[in-house]
């Protein structure tokens, strides 16, 4: 299996996610301002931007945890702007968090059990112990094994190391077998060794999975995504391949802080290298 450029292999041209002039204000402050973009099935898109660029707010709107103040969101051609978070999960959306959100008071096994029941009616099952659901328990064991957590199954999540919690977080998202996965800085706060693990993990993701990844670590980005979009002050300023973005003057200025605050940037910048086949249109 191709581990370096899985996106090309699976990309079919079908649009997995489309966002139109999506915006969110907090008390008059525009955290995200009119972002328009689309992502093809199987594409791997990185999102970068300085702190406060609105990346996490953007994710929260995609996942349905935050209602946008303007714009619309489509998944596989279906308008999901008004759907609550759990309904979007049912449509195949999974996510992780920058500040990890696992179920701290539960063991790893229980965490994963909650996740594997997430999309079936069995989550409302009352009359049988969760341990008695054989198929789901097997699934949990498999999941844990594939993330190297098989020896930690009966450990409370709050007792895990930071790296393990990150893994569990991703593992929870994958338990739902999502077709679109949103990862919010999966490498943040990890040791160099753990970063290597995360990169390996990202590369093992199923090829048909559409991945959107917020990340600062260029090494992680380089190995995991084939395109990068840049957010700045809540606006979508650039999109291109990893190499193109790294070369981009504007991005370098933004990151190095040369550009004055609140720079007016044309929304349709020439730097947009998106093509139909690449799955990106501004």
């Amino acid at each position: 299996m191709n581990t370096t450029a899985p996106a090309q292999a699976a990309s079919t041209g079908e649009v997995a996610l489309r966002v139109e002039s999506l915006g969110r204000q907090f008390a008059g402050v525009k955290a995200v301002d009119g972002v328009t973009l689309s992502v093809s099935r199987g594409a791997r898109l990185g999102i970068i931007g300085p702190n406060g660029a609105g990346k996490t707010t953007f994710f929260n709107m995609l996942s349905g945890e935050l209602k946008p103040t303007s714009g619309r969101i489509e998944m596989f051609g279906q308008d999901v702007t008004r759907l609550p978070a759990h309904r979007r999960v049912a449509l195949g959306l999974g996510r992780t968090y920058q500040v990890t959100r696992v179920l701290h008071g539960l063991t790893v096994r229980e965490n994963l059990t909650v996740a594997v029941h997430g999309l079936s009616r069995s989550k409302l099952g009352l009359l049988r112990s969760w341990r008695a659901y054989r198929r789901q328990m097997e699934q949990v064991e498999e999941l844990a094994a594939s993330f190297g957590l098989e020896n930690r199954l009966d450990v409370l999540a709050e007792a895990l190391s930071h790296g393990e919690v990150r893994q569990l977080d991703v593992c929870l998202a994958l338990a739902l077998k999502p077709s679109i996965l949103l990862l919010d800085e999966p490498a943040a706060g990890l040791s160099p060794a753990e970063r290597v693990d995360i990169r390996a993990l990202l590369n093992r993701l199923p090829p048909e999975l559409t991945l959107i990844l917020i990340e600062h670590d260029m090494d992680v980005l380089r190995s995991a995504v084939d395109e990068i979009a840049v957010l700045h002050h809540g606006e979508y300023v650039a999109r291109g391949s990893v190499a193109e973005i790294q070369q981009n003057e504007l991005v370098r200025e933004l990151y190095l802080g040369k550009q004055a605050e609140g720079a007016e940037l044309p929304k349709e910048t020439a730097l947009n290298a998106g093509t139909e086949s690449g799955g990106g249109l501004v």
Partner: protein, 380 residues
């Protein structure tokens, strides 16, 4: 490097809206775990049965304890496993009792009255539930307190139906073949049977996937949402279950006491059932049973001999809150576990004792509002 993870090959490319997996076939058998449960149950029956058969004061006392234990366990299901500590359980107990009393006042037989009461409890829970589960944490405490006060007001003032402050008598109890609940001893054992059934049911609920999801919700509700859970629906279902057991206790209360009046639903009584559950230990299910025993002893036994029993009860409760926040049962279990470890095997799974520390420990580093938009969350 070729370790494609387990689910990869099963992930279908065309993932469309799912209507959920096939419904599981659900056998009506739960597997209790550990010999401790059997020994405990045996000891419990051995302790209560002779007292119940003896009747009189002690039989009545134990009957009261069992009735309140059912209500307190119901409260624990929502509070200890779902993180929503209710202050309105006594109001639902009253509702169940009034359901019986009012039906019988209008000429229905005891069995029909029980059926009507159960329907009324469920209806009220279904109608009030969406209001109550809109908020969590302390907001839920305040909300259930307020809703409970409304029910109390209704019982008090809707005199044409409820009999006002004098309450309503329940003059006869159900008869089933040789079992005649008009006889105190039969009534007591019926209460014991309902108690055992309730305890067994609630334990099954707690260990079910649904129960697990409730505990997960206490850890991090938002995460549960992005794992596909309609968390408010889960809270709602848990609330209805909790109310149901409150009402069930009320039905038993009506028949065993022969009278229901609004006093049973006032602020004080609501607080007392909450105290039972907390004193015993939230999130333990058996703790509230112990709590009910202790509090009833204070209220109905000690009060005969000691003037300032209420102070004593308050002081004991405060001391428990300060020094043993996991409750008396938690304390007992800690001791048992230590003993068990010495004997070479763990006594119980220790994952359920942190009901009281359900608050999210995570600081919200994100300066932005990462909450749920306009869903009202009175956070505590």
């Amino acid at each position: 490097m070729n370790g494609v993870h387990g689910s990869a090959d099963r992930a279908q490319p065309a993932r469309r809206p799912r209507l959920g997996g096939r419904a599981q076939s659900v056998p009506l058998v739960a597997r209790p775990q550990g010999p401790m449960l059997w020994i405990g149950a045996a000891a419990f029956i051995a302790l209560t049965a002779p007292l119940l058969s003896q009747g009189g004061f002690y039989g009545g006392l134990v009957t009261q304890m069992l009735i309140f234990a059912i209500a307190a366990m119901g409260l624990d299901f929502l509070g200890g496993f779902g993180g929503l500590v209710s202050f309105g359980q006594a109001s639902y107990l009253g509702l169940g009792a009034y359901g019986v009393a009012v039906s019988m006042r209008y000429g229905y037989g005891p069995w029909t009255a029980v059926g009507i009461s159960l329907v009324v409890i469920l209806l009220v829970a279904l109608i009030v539930g969406p209001l109550a589960v809109r908020v969590s944490g302390i907001g839920f405490v305040i909300m259930t307190l307020a809703l409970g006060q409304i029910l109390f007001g209704l019982a008090f003032s809707w005199v044409g139906v409820s009999g006002g402050d004098n309450g309503l008598p329940i003059l006869s109890a159900p008869v089933l073949g040789p079992i005649d609940l008009n006889k105190p001893s039969h009534m007591s054992f019926a209460v014991l049977a309902v108690f055992i059934l309730s305890a067994w049911l609630l334990r099954t609920f707690v260990t079910s996937p649904f129960g697990l999801s409730l505990r997960g919700m206490m850890s991090n509700e938002q995460r549960l949402r992005t794992l596909g859970y309609a968390t408010r629906l889960h809270r709602y279902v848990a609330y209805v279950i909790s109310v149901f057991f409150g009402g069930l206790a009320g039905i038993l209360f009506a028949f065993s006491n022969g009278l229901i009046s609004p006093t049973a639903m006032d602020f004080h009584h609501n607080g007392v059932i909450t105290i039972m559950a907390v004193l015993g230990g939230l999130g333990t299910l058996w703790g509230p049973v112990l709590g009910a025993v202790i509090i009833i002893l204070f209220q109905q036994y000690l009060s005969i001999y000691v003037d300032r029993w209420a102070t004593a009860m308050g002081v004991v409760f405060i001391a428990i809150m300060l020094f043993v926040p996991e409750g008396v049962w938690g304390l007992a279990r800690k001791g048992a576990r230590r003993l068990g470890r010495q004997l070479g095997r763990p006594a119980a799974d220790g994952a359920t004792t942190r009901a009281l520390s359900a608050e999210a420990r995570e600081p919200h580093r994100d300066g932005q509002n990462d909450g749920s938009g306009d869903e009202a969350e009175v956070r505590a």
